[in-house]
């Protein structure tokens, strides 16, 4: 039986889709079978970020409505044999997702895949609650910025109350993925530090993804950042996060923490 991960955040634009694609590709490179599922019905983008936008024939709403079988809707990644995408519908809205339909799709995916990664839409409405409903593990994507932290706190509250696990009295496993982190700005005191966010949200840290041009570059060409440039700092961060998800206990680092000559001269006290 596969594990179901929800990638969620509350706030939009913090990196849910980027992270879903990157973690999916990172896990698939460990030779595990991965399905990434786009729950953002009406505003799908996972297909675009993964470079499969021209191969979408059927989507999750078709599967739920019985217009297509799951294997017909799943798109196999051209670069990784073990990575699959279940796209969202672009022409419907979130009400097209039904509780029973989603349950059926997830149950079937769990049979065939080691990992089912649910890319949640932003917000706290139906799409987001359905994406988290059947999760075993939650990855809470947060930027070191007040509105993102506040929304993450709200989402953590929902994970602890609105999921099947929570309703069954079980503990939902939650992890923080801090994205767009800039350690230089944090050291200067102009950005919340990792420890600040951890203290406020008090969930364990899965990884720190540094702010990087490589993320945009990867999405420009339609490749998860863990496929586009495996040695880039964000890719390294996602590989580490994937290893932690798979159960390895490795210390969290901030990949690619490099200082220019100016930074070296002024050390940690610069400005």
């Amino acid at each position: 039986m596969g594990k179901v991960i929800v990638v969620t955040s509350g706030k939009g634009g913090v990196g849910k889709t980027t992270s879903s694609a990157a973690l999916g590709a990172a896990l698939a490179q460990r030779n595990e079978k991965v399905a990434v599922v786009d729950f953002d019905v009406g505003l799908r983008n996972l297909d675009l970020v993964m470079g499969a936008e021209r191969r979408v024939v059927y989507d999750i709403v078709n599967v739920i409505n019985g217009d297509a079988k799951l294997p017909q809707a799943l798109i196999r990644d051209k670069r990784l044999d073990t990575l699959f995408l279940l796209p969202a519908s672009q022409t419907r809205d979130k009400d097209a997702l039904t509780e029973e339909g989603v349950e059926r799709v997830i149950a079937e995916l769990k049979k065939y895949f080691d990992w089912v990664i649910c890319d949640s839409p932003a917000g706290i409405e139906k799409g987001a609650t359905l994406a988290m409903r059947h999760a075993d593990v939650a990855v809470v994507v947060t930027n070191p910025e007040v509105s993102s932290v506040r929304d993450s706190d709200r989402i953590i509250g929902m994970l602890d109350s609105k999921t099947l696990k929570a309703e069954n009295g079980e503990r939902m496993e939650k992890h923080l993925l801090l994205t767009r982190y800039d350690s230089n700005r944090a050291e200067r005191g102009d950005m919340l530090k990792v420890d600040d966010v951890l203290e406020i949200l008090s969930i364990p840290l899965l990884g720190i993804v540094p702010e990087s041009m490589d993320v945009l570059k990867a999405s420009n060409v339609g490749a998860p950042v863990t496929l586009a440039d495996t040695r880039s700092a964000p890719a390294q961060a996602y590989f580490e996060a994937a290893r932690r998800l798979a159960g390895e206990a490795i210390p969290v680092t901030i990949p690619g923490e490099k200082r220019g000559i100016f930074g070296k001269l002024f050390g940690r006290k610069a400005a």
């Binding site: 910025e145 007040v146 932290v149 506040r150 706190d153 709200r154 509250g157 944090a186 200067r188 005191g189 102009d190 950005m191 919340l192 530090k193 600040d196 406020i200 400005a271």
Partner: protein, 85 residues
């Protein structure tokens, strides 16, 4: 001027941290904001055991201050029900 600002600039992250801590403490406390609804239902049930009363005449309010929370319960008991009791 700009060089001076570079050195005298106050850091903004501690402010972010503090504002979040205060805000989230409030928001978490009211997260189960159905609390007032639950209290209302239960208080109503208890009183209804002894006196007949109108469900709309029970008001439950929670006020939060930085240091103290006030739970205000306002129950209006009809005159004849009060006499009967």
């Amino acid at each position: 001027m700009s060089i001076l600002r570079l050195f005298t600039r106050s850091r903004s992250a501690p402010a972010a941290r503090e504002r979040l801590q205060v805000l989230l403490a409030h928001e978490r406390a009211s997260a189960g904001s159905d609390l007032t609804a639950i209290l209302r239902e239960e208080i109503l049930a208890v009183i209804a055991k002894h006196v007949e009363l109108d469900a709309d005449r029970v008001k439950v309010k929670v006020d939060r201050d930085e240091n103290v929370s006030i739970l205000e319960i306002d129950v209006e008991i009809p005159l004849d029900a009060a006499r009967a009791a």
